[in-house]
């Protein structure tokens, strides 16, 4: 939203800095992050985030921008990745003078190719029919991936070695840090390209096709053509993401083209927020973090994952980006601090509610799953509790109840503070925009 507003205002020197400032900041961030988080797992996680950012943004070209709900986007990601792996092996075997950094392009073209083929078939329909065709195609390719062993390598997949390629400037891409920077660079370029696409006339037409296909058709645009081109391009970027994944893991297998992977990218885009360009970026970061870390912390991680997701869908349909942008008018008018006291007040009940729920889930999980073999003693944030005693259950329920009550009590105050803070802001914003 904010970026929209920026681009429509006439160019001023300050505007130019505003326009490119974020890209410079992002580049700096990418460079600096590994200096802060140095461990191998953190590097791998951040590399994965970079890949998933490209993937989820490519997905949002379909869902957010053009209104196409796809259940089979992993097909292009996976096929791109497989071609990249094969390309790496071929180049290494024949000693071709091709360096590793261009490999994602191979993946991209594979994605583009299949985007064109399947796009020609599926974009003839819109809405639910399109969604169902994408589901069918996704399942078809996923099933085929287990049958065509030559190309997909069965469950074990195909492996490659990224260090066996042409070496440029002494960089072999052995250490993860070098791969991280490679992914970072590709990620930045792809994000910029996809952002640029939203600013092209075609990108604008996508929104029209999403919001009002009849009218778009009426003023002389073929909605099918718009969908087709966008679909193919989305396939291209998904393929690049797949190629990056191939480099990062040096391995591609059937899971990457499966329905599960398609589901994950849908989750990322939606949790992040499909209504804003940067939404899927937030979504990708959050979902990767949850996937990588939640399972280490708790045995019931799937339950948390599902609950977080349900809550997001129910109460924050704009996703993370929607929540962030809710505060944009406040920030613009420097009234953000007006709501902070109300937020601080709300923090108490929120903490009680969250803590109570987590305690309840953990206690239940321990009692039902582990108590039979490990006994009732469980650890909860450094405390040792007995899952078969009343104390943790009662504490959890009381915390939830009190949290709910207090939350109800404080909620009007928060709403009021928010309105107060945003109304003059909205006023000023309108004047500024005129």
């Amino acid at each position: 939203m904010s970026t929209n507003a920026m681009a429509t205002t006439t160019s001023q020197p300050l505007d130019l800095l505003k326009r490119y400032g974020i890209w410079i900041a992002a580049a700096v961030l990418i460079v600096v992050l590994p200096k802060i988080f140095t461990s191998g797992a953190a590097l791998t996680t951040m590399s994965l985030m970079g890949i998933m950012i490209v993937f989820s943004l490519s997905y949002n070209m379909l869902l957010g921008q053009t209104g196409m709900l796809s259940f089979g986007h992993a097909v292009y990601y996976g096929l791109g990745g497989f071609l990249a792996v094969h390309a790496m092996n071929m180049i290494a075997a024949d000693k071709l003078p091709i360096p590793l950094p261009v490999i994602p392009l191979a993946g991209g073209f594979m994605g583009l190719l299949f985007g064109i083929i399947f796009g020609a078939v599926s974009t003839r329909r819109a809405g639910t029919a399109f969604a169902m065709i994408s589901l069918g195609l996704g399942e078809l390719i996923a099933s085929l991936s287990l049958i065509l062993r030559g190309f997909f390598g069965g469950e074990e997949g195909i492996t490659a070695n990224r260090t066996k390629m042409l070496t440029l400037f002494g960089v072999r891409f052995g250490p993860q840090i070098e791969v991280y920077y490679l992914i970072g660079a590709w990620c930045l370029v792809c994000v910029a390209l996809m952002y640029a696409f939203t600013r092209t006339p075609l990108g604008r037409m996508c929104n029209a096709v999403r919001d009002n296909p009849e009218r778009a058709e009426f003023i002389g645009y073929s909605t099918q053509m718009v969908r087709f081109i966008t679909f193919s391009l989305a396939g291209f970027f998904a393929g690049i993401a797949g190629g990056l994944a191939a480099i990062n893991f040096e391995l591609m297998n059937a899971v990457n083209v499966s329905g599960a992977q398609s589901g994950v990218v849908l989750l990322m885009a939606y949790i992040g927020g499909v209504g804003h360009f940067f939404g899927p970026i937030l979504g990708a970061i959050l979902v990767v973090l949850l996937q990588v870390m939640l399972s280490d912390v708790t045995g019931a991680w799937m339950l948390y994952f599902g609950l977080i997701f349900i809550l997001m869908v129910m109460y924050a349909p704009g996703g993370l980006a929607g929540l962030v942008m809710l505060h944009a008018p406040l920030w613009r008018n420097n009234t953000l601090h007006h709501v902070l006291p109300a937020y601080a007040l709300m923090a108490g009940p929120a903490f009680l509610l969250l803590g109570g729920t987590v305690l309840l889930i953990e206690t239940a999980h321990h009692q039902l799953v582990r108590a039979a073999t490990e006994g009732p003693a469980m650890h909860f944030f450094g405390l040792t509790l007995q899952s078969n005693s009343v104390i943790p259950w009662a504490t959890a329920l009381i915390a939830i109840a009190v949290g709910l009550l207090l939350g109800r009590r404080f909620a009007p105050r928060l709403v009021e503070a928010f309105h107060e803070a945003s109304s003059p802001a909205a006023q000023l914003g309108r004047i500024g925009g005129a």
Binding site: L63, L69, V121, R124, R125, G127, T128, A129, A131, M132, I133, L135, G136, L137, E139, L140, S143, L144, I147, L148, R149, G150, F151, G259, G263, L266, L267, Y270, A300, M302, L303, F305, G306, L307, F309, I310, V313, M314, Y315, P317, A364, H365, L368, V369
Partner: protein, 313 residues
């Protein structure tokens, strides 16, 4: 062999229909692609197991679907209705998350291993023997139940006032609302009944197939195929599609020929090694599970209303 394959195919088809009938009602009236539908089926199986452990199977057959239906109605009332405002994608994603949560809860309560859900002793005998193969009575019972439910549904839909409203909501949802029917209440009822139907399927399928946490997502995607292939808003379409897919899947297994064998018979020589070689060796039995998806894609391209549907998806 043919007889058994037909019986098994029809049985599998009827099972699919029990699930698909609820899903198609929900899908066509509310526009919700209910990803959690198969989870309700699983809940039905687990409730059926628990109740038949405590009390007995026949009671479970009645109580478990009612419980599942109530849960379904509750989900609609307190979950989906909130999400409805945000559009169909949000609704779909809600059910997606719900499927996750249900699976995890089932794992927490009943464990991750399959539970020992037995066929009730009264039905634990071979129904008949044909060419030395016995056919279990319980399977006949499953078949009977599903046919009975199909008939009851058909009667209600074509003969009763409720059926009239539902049929009208299928084809002209806005008109029904305009006529002053309480659409949210109809939605809640439909979601509840749809879930209960899935629950019944779970109770009777539980002992025959294994009752375990992964039973939901094994069946999930195929249901969408049935519903879309049969045509939106068409119960008879769903019925035909269920049977068709049931039979195709069963008969595909019985055929042992590969593409290569067929081509060879036609005089085509074996191609060079490589990618094509894999395709060459694939047998019909291996491709069996893929066929429904192929059918789905093809029908949506060439006949977007589905087999018997009257409106485009």
């Amino acid at each position: 062999m043919v007889i058994f394959s037909t019986l098994n195919g029809v049985l599998y088809g009827m099972l699919l229909f029990l699930l698909a009938s609820g899903l198609t009602l929900i899908f066509s009236m509310m526009g919700v692609l209910n990803f959690a539908h198969a989870s309700f089926y699983m809940l039905g199986a687990y409730f059926g197991f628990q109740i038949s452990q405590w009390l007995d199977f026949w009671l479970a057959l009645i109580v478990a679907p009612v419980l599942v239906g109530l849960i379904g109605a509750g989900v609609e009332r307190w979950g989906l209705r909130t999400v409805h405002r945000w559009g169909h994608v949000a609704e779909l994603l809600f059910t997606f998350g719900l499927a996750f949560v249900i699976e995890e809860l089932v794992q927490m309560i009943w464990g991750k291993l399959p539970v020992d859900y037995r066929v009730p002793p009264a039905l634990d005998f071979p129904a008949f023997t044909l060419f030395e193969t016995t056919y279990p009575a319980f399977r006949m019972f499953m078949l009977l139940i599903s046919v009975a439910i199909f008939l009851v549904l058909l009667l209600i839909l074509t003969r009763s006032r409720v059926g009239l409203i539902i049929q009208a909501s299928l084809s002209h949802p806005h008109m029904v609302a305009a006529l002053g029917h309480d659409v949210p209440k109809v939605f809640m009822a439909v979601f509840g009944v749809g879930s209960a139907l899935a629950g019944i399927a779970g109770v009777i399928a539980g002992p025959a197939l294994v009752t375990q946490p992964s039973m939901a997502h094994v069946l999930g995607p195929i249901l969408f195929v049935v519903v879309v292939f049969g045509g939106l808003g068409s119960l008879s379409g769903a019925f035909i599609a269920s049977l068709l897919i049931g039979l195709i899947q069963t008969f595909a297994i019985a055929i042992n020929y590969s593409l290569g064998d067929v081509l060879m018979a036609l005089g085509v020589t074996r191609p060079i090694q490589g990618l094509l070689n894999d395709l060459w060796q694939v047998t019909v039995a291996q491709v069996g599970p893929v066929i429904p998806y192929l059918m789905l894609v093809l029908i949506l391209i060439f006949r977007p209303t589905g087999l018997m549907g009257t409106r485009e998806t």
